[in-house]
Every structure is written in structure tokens, then in C-alpha cells.
């Protein structure tokens, strides 16, 4: 064996329909090829889709949820608390993944499993209880309609174990909102791609885990030495304390200054009242503490409390940039207390803040443009900055009532009902865009458009690099940057560590080579790890093309080509369709894909001939 640590060689497979639970072993070959995390998830989903001839309804019992932390998760190094959730997404109908921080994945690994795959559908609302080797599906109809925190509390009461790590869906997940999320550690969400709805479709309300096993590490002395160096390096970074103070909220000022903040449903790239919703406002008036994911010295989680006024008493783990931007500038709101309220509601009901803020923005603009009338909005007059209407809409979405029923189906459903709304929704492949306007940077547009899950920044976030240094780069260089991001960023999701140390505090990429080698004992270099990541990107591409995605879907939101930015440093800017087309050609070529975006036939055959992981 090449690998002497990092894996338990077991994947827990739970079939909720039959009640059968089984720890299945897998061979080293897969650990070398797919590493773990999203790599395992993509492979298991691909095997399943192949079995079903690529005909699968995301909300049917046949769909799978793979919860997969990765071989480095839980080990002694900065920010090793990440877990990937992979499933066929009800929001997009294609490959979907999302990752969660906190400590759930670590606990799952300590229970002795490299991943957890959930299939089937329970007859009644249930939760899964994993206590090391003991696995139980517990019927719990009393959890129906409960919020995430209520669910957690009730399970702790019932099991009499306060140390359990619990993830749960809120009412929105039960109601199968297309962007329902899965929440753990109070405010850590696997937010995107609606995997919470898949959990809801399986009648699975929560998963509670306790694990006590040693995490296998091949060379703990090397890991200790290397990581201690890493911790010291991070702590001495000039931005370290600022990062602890504001975390991702510091991006509000940056994004506004550089003109990429979403304002008024992505119409503008600048918000004139951004100073009312930025990190300093949070620090001075709302922040009461920090919170960290497992083993992370950066502790970028903000804990906020509203101390007075209308939303007094609102306490939330958050917000982060995306949430503050989509509920603030994107809806024309300059009240930070409201952002906290919206964040708290979304967390408790279990919906993704990015999709929610994005779609509410689209609906408001649709109403303003006369596409929706009072009959469509349940009699609500929708205007920018209307906090009450937004809160009403959040509740309606989670309950799937009235207009919320339509929005809750996701952007594809919204367009089905209101075709004229299509140009106002910023989405790719059915996934609503993250809070960075792509009109000022071609790389960001290409990153969104070619991301395997849709318009999310998790795969590539090249915008800052392009705006800082790469405005005049030739298209080839821009494409290289996007592909580099799409290769290294998913690698973090395969290893089970957070990428923020790397992207925000310049933590060296080489560290992860040392860390991987120390934990697994395998001699893979960074280059080899990146090749594995690239291979997984080809696999997810094969999945999405087999499910009907082609070149026509690899375009950024329509608005990027048709409506120029209104104000700020990029005023008047929009993307040139021809230039984008050319760049997409270069992108496909560099990836070795066909002109229609298909992976090479040799690669495809390789994947199709490969054995199943489970």
C-alpha cells in the first residue's frame, strides 16, 4: 500500500427505504484517484447516475447525498474542518455540491467513516444517529416543521448526549425549497445547490454523530512540525488581526470600492450607502464575538447581536460578505440590523442566503418593471429597501406559500412561471449568482459560467486578480487563471480543508503537499494532487454534459452582455459577447474539451469503464 494514513477505508451507506445500514470498504485505487471530499462524492454520484442511465429525479428516493470530509479533515493544521456535500441538485438538475465548515465532518471521521452516503426515503420523518459503529435510523415525527436549532435541542434531549454533533434541515428543507440548506454548529451551512431539499425528500430531518476514534496520521511528527510553522506564519501575517476582527465582512468595502458589489439586483456595481453595512458598522455596533471552524486560528465567523430597535434580540452566527451584500446593497437596504434578521431567519428556516437574496432582488425588480403585478405578489407592493416585504417573502419561500411557492422552486421555476423575468435573474445553469458582479471582469464571468455547479464563486474567484493586475492580460492568460482556480480551489474541497488561509492570508500552496504527505504517507506532489483535482473536474463535466448541459449553458447571466454597470469605477461597462465566445473557445481548448464543451472521448471511456466505488 502506498497510503498509510488519512483513511478508515470505510464508507457508511444508509438506505432509508429499507433501513439497512452498512459500512462498505473501498480500495486504495480510489483514494489515489479521487483523494476524498468532493472527489468521492462526484465518483459515487457518477456511478449512481450510470446505473440509472443518467435519468434521475433529484427529489426521488434514488438520489444520493454523499457527505464526505476528506483525508485531512480533523487533523492538526489550519482550518481542517471542511466537509463536502454532493448530490444531484434540485436547483439545477445537475451535479451539485456544497461545503460546510464547523466540526461535523471531523466527528463523522472520528466515528470511523471516510464518507456517508444516504439513499432511499424514510417512511416517516426521521433522523440518523451515528454513535461510532452503532448506526440507527430514528423515527421522529415530532420534529416536523421545527427550525434547525429546535431540532438540535430536541435531539440532544432525546438522546441525552450534549456532545453530539448535529446537522439538520429547517422547514424549508422539508418543503423541498430548491435552495434549502443543511445547517450545523448554529450557523455553518452547506448552503448551495439545494441539498437540504434532497434531505427533505428523503424524510431525513437531521444527522447526529458522535465519534471517538483516532484519526489515522502516517507521520504525526512531520505534521506537527509543519503545522506549527504554518500556525506561526498565519499569526504573523499583517492582516491576521484584521481578519479576526471582520472576517469576510471586510469584503463589503473592498467590493464597493472596486465596483463589484451587487446593488439593486445586480443592476449596479456600487452601493451609495455601503458604509452603513460594512465590517466597521458590524464591529462597532453588533459584533459580540468570534467563532471558528475546527482547528482554525483565523476564526472568521462573526457572532452578532442586535441590541436595540425593531430587530432587538436577533442573534446570529454571521453575517458574511455574501449574505450582507445580497440582503443589503442588492435589495437597496442600508440597515445592518435587518441584514442580521434576514440572516437569522434564513438559518433557522434553512434556506441559502445567496439564492434567497438574489431571487428576492429579481422579484422586486420584476415588480418594478411591471412583469409581476399585485396578483402575483399576493398583494404586496415590492420596492427597494422594503424590509417588511423581504421578511414576508423569506417566510413565504420557506413555507412555500403564495409567491414563495414559485420562488421556492428556484430560478428555473421562477422563469417557467414568469418567462419575462428571465433577463433579470442572475444565474447560470439554474444556480443563482454569488455576490460579485461579473461585468467588470471577464475571468469572473467565465468562472461562473464554467463552474460545474452553476454561478458560484467556490470554483473560481479570479475577479480580484484580474482587477488588480490582469485587466490587459491576453485572453489566454485570463483563461489560465480561471483554470488554475478551478483546479486548486476544488482541491481544498477534496482534502477537507478551508481555502481561506490560502486565498485571504497568502498561505503557501506547498503547505498542503506537506500536509497531505504527512497525513497519508503517500508521496503525491502538489502537481499530482492538482492533476487529481483536474480529473474530478472532467468527471463532473461528464456528469453535467450527460445530463444535457452543453456550450449554450456555459454563458454568464444575460445581464452581463446587455446592461452596462450604472455607476462606480466600471460605469458603462458590459461584456462583449464575441470576446466571451472567443474566450470560451480558448477555455475548452486548454481543457482538452470539444467545441461543444464535451470532455475527450478517451477520458469519457476511462470513466465509464472504471469500477464502482461502492
Amino acid at each position: 500500500m502506498k497510503i498509510s494514513g488519512g483513511y478508515f477505508w470505510k464508507i457508511l451507506v444508509v438506505d432509508l427505504s429499507t433501513g439497512k445500514t452498512e459500512a462498505r470498504e473501498f480500495s486504495e485505487e480510489f483514494a489515489l484517484k479521487y483523494i476524498g471530499g468532493r472527489g468521492f462524492g462526484a465518483k459515487i454520484l457518477f456511478d449512481l447516475l450510470k446505473h440509472h442511465d443518467f435519468q434521475l429525479d433529484p427529489l426521488s428516493p434514488e438520489n444520493v447525498i454523499v457527505i464526505s470530509p476528506g483525508p485531512l479533515a480533523g487533523t492538526y493544521m489550519p482550518a481542517s474542518g471542511k466537509t463536502s456535500f454532493v448530490s444531484l441538485s434540485p436547483a439545477t438538475g445537475i451535479y451539485g455540491d456544497s461545503n460546510m465548515g464547523g466540526s461535523f465532518g471531523v466527528e463523522l471521521r472520528q466515528a470511523g467513516y471516510d464518507a456517508l452516503a444516504i439513499l432511499g426515503r424514510a417512511e416517516e420523518l426521521s433522523y440518523l444517529w451515528v454513535d461510532n459503529d452503532k448506526v440507527k435510523i430514528v423515527r421522529a415525527p415530532e420534529l416536523k416543521g421545527k427550525t434547525v436549532l429546535e431540532t438540535e435541542g430536541l435531539i440532544r434531549q432525546k438522546t441525552q448526549d450534549t456532545d453530539l454533533k448535529i446537522i439538520a434541515i429547517g422547514p424549508a428543507g422539508e418543503n423541498m425549497v430548491a435552495f434549502a440548506c443543511i445547517t450545523g454548529d448554529w450557523g455553518r451551512n452547506a448552503g448551495r445547490c439545494g441539498i437540504g431539499a434532497v434531505m427533505g425528500s428523503k424524510n431525513l430531518k437531521a444527522i447526529a454523530v458522535r465519534g471517538t476514534k483516532d484519526l489515522p496520521v502516517a507521520d504525526i511528527k512531520r505534521l506537527l512540525a509543519k503545522s506549527n510553522e504554518g500556525f506561526a506564519e498565519l499569526a504573523s501575517h499583517p492582516m491576521f488581526s484584521f481578519w479576526q476582527d471582520q472576517g469576510l465582512m471586510s469584503v463589503i468595502d473592498y467590493a464597493n470600492k472596486t465596483g463589484i458589489i451587487p446593488a439593486y439586483n445586480f443592476k449596479d456595481g456600487r452601493f451609495d450607502r455601503a458604509e452603513k453595512i460594512n465590517g466597521y458598522v458590524m464591529e462597532d455596533h453588533y459584533k459580540i464575538g468570534n467563532t471558528a471552524c475546527f482547528a482554525c486560528p483565523m476564526c472568521c465567523g462573526n457572532i452578532c447581536l442586535v441590541k436595540e430597535g425593531e430587530y432587538s434580540g436577533t442573534a446570529v452566527e454571521g453575517p458574511e460578505y455574501e449574505t450582507a451584500a445580497v440582503f443589503g446593497s442588492n435589495l437597496g437596504v442600508d440597515n445592518f440590523a435587518f441584514i442580521l434578521k434576514a440572516n437569522q431567519l434564513c438559518d433557522e428556516l434553512g434556506i441559502d442566503t445567496i439564492s434567497t437574496g438574489n431571487l428576492i432582488g429579481a422579484v422586486i425588480e420584476g415588480y418594478q418593471e411591471g412583469i409581476l403585478d399585485l396578483d402575483d405578489t399576493d398583494g404586496m407592493v415590492l420596492g427597494w429597501g422594503d424590509e417588511k416585504a423581504v421578511i414576508a417573502l423569506i417566510n413565504k419561500i420557506a413555507a412555500r406559500k403564495g409567491l414563495g411557492e414559485i420562488i421556492g422552486g428556484g430560478s428555473r421555476n421562477l422563469v417557467r412561471h414568469f418567462p419575462k423575468l428571465a433577463p433579470f435573474i442572475s444565474q447560470v445553469k439554474g444556480l443563482e449568482q454569488s455576490a460579485y458582479d461579473a461585468r467588470s471582469a471577464m475571468t469572473m464571468a467565465l468562472g461562473y459560467a464554467t463552474s460545474d455547479i452553476g454561478a458560484h464563486h467556490t470554483r473560481a474567484w479570479p475577479i480580484a486578480f484580474e482587477l488588480e493586475a490582469g485587466k490587459n492580460w491576453p485572453p489566454e492568460k485570463k483563461v489560465d487563471l480561471v483554470i488554475h482556480h478551478q483546479t486548486i480551489r476544488p482541491l481544498f474541497d477534496m482534502l477537507g480543508v478551508c481555502r481561506l488561509a490560502w486565498i485571504e492570508l497568502g498561505f503557501p500552496e506547498e503547505f498542503y503537499e506537506h500536509a497531505y504527505q504527512a497525513v497519508t504517507g503517500n508521496a503525491f506532489t502538489l502537481k499530482q494532487l492538482l492533476e487529481s483535482s483536474n480529473r474530478v473536474y472532467d468527471l463532473t463535466r461528464l456528469i453535467v454534459t450527460r445530463l444535457g448541459i452543453s456550450r449554450k449553458d456555459d454563458y454568464p447571466p444575460e445581464r452581463c452582455f446587455t446592461q452596462p454597470v450604472l455607476s462606480g469605477p466600471h460605469a458603462g461597462k458590459k461584456l462583449d459577447r464575441k470576446a466571451y465566445d472567443d474566450m470560451l473557445d480558448i477555455y475548452y481548448q486548454k481543457r482538452g474539451w470539444s467545441k461543444d464543451g464535451k470532455i475527450s472521448q478517451e477520458r469519457e471511456k476511462e470513466f465509464l469503464d472504471e469500477q464502482q466505488l461502492l
Binding site: 471531523v106 472520528q110 436549532l149 483516532d214 464591529e283 482547528a295
Partner: protein, 180 residues
Amino acid sequence: MKLTVVPERCSGCKLCELACSIKKFGVNNPKKSSVRVMVVYPAPIIRMPIFCHQCKDAKCAENCPVDCIHHENGIVRINTEECIGCEQCIVSCPFGAIFTHEDYEAPFKCDLCGGDPECAKVCPTKALIYVPKHLIGQAQRMSNVLKYAHMKQVEFFEKGEKKVLHYTEAEKKENNKEPK
């Protein structure tokens, strides 16, 4: 010297647990640690590392039926060879600072790593600190003062113009840099 905690500073990252398990048992397993971070939420969120305070009047020692817990240079130690595994010490500790794991028969607890505790060294927010005895409580006092200052502001006049200075802003000016 004394190991002490400022709970307000704790972020709940559990690096102390990891460092402890590696130092004491040579394994990467937070469940084999002699310090345990308790997290209670929602607001008011509390994160508090629980560890042995090396009590002078140690309840664990008092309640041990075979008298195998003793003070040694100010450190409370369990003699694992004499221990019968009744776990009376665990329940009698007022802090819950003695731990157990299915891999071991005897319970385990903090021994301050022989005077250089790993948990305090690794703590990124300085919530766990190892300080001379006369400084115990100082961190809490300072933390309290700063919290008070956070709510307070000073009004002053500059060239006839009324200005307000927050203590926190004065502090901020030093590292008022733009994020990347």
C-alpha cells in the same frame, strides 16, 4: 504559574484539544484530550475550555476510594497503576475536568505538560493562558475594561468642530489596512 482561561476570547476552534492529544497520547484525536471546549449556543453563545485547575483541596483526590490521586509539586496526578477505574474522580470534579476514553482503563487529566502546556501555546486567541500566579484575573480585568470602553466614547472639539472618538477606533487606526 497557573493555567487560566478568558472564555470571552475563545472561538471554539479546539486546537487546544488537538495539541493536547498529540502531546499526551501521540494521536490526532480531540477526544483524548485533557482539555475540552464546551460550546453552548445560540446567544448568549458561550465557549469555555474545561481543564483541571490543580485544586489545592482536590475533590477528585478526596473521593478516590483507593487513594491513588495525589499532589506532586502542585500538580494533581492520577496513579494509573493503582487506579481501579471506578471513575468517582470524574463525577466528583466540580469542573468535569477529568476525562475518559474507551481505549484506556484509567481516566486522564491535565498535568500542565510538566510546566509548558501545549494548549496555551497553540491557542490562537489567547483564551487559554499560562501565567504567573499573581497575574491570575488580570486578563479578565483587562477584558472587562476593554468591553466597557467599547461601549464608551469621548467627545472632544477640534478647531471648533465637535468630534467623537471611540476607543476602539483609536485602536483601529494602527492597523487600518485594506483587506486583500
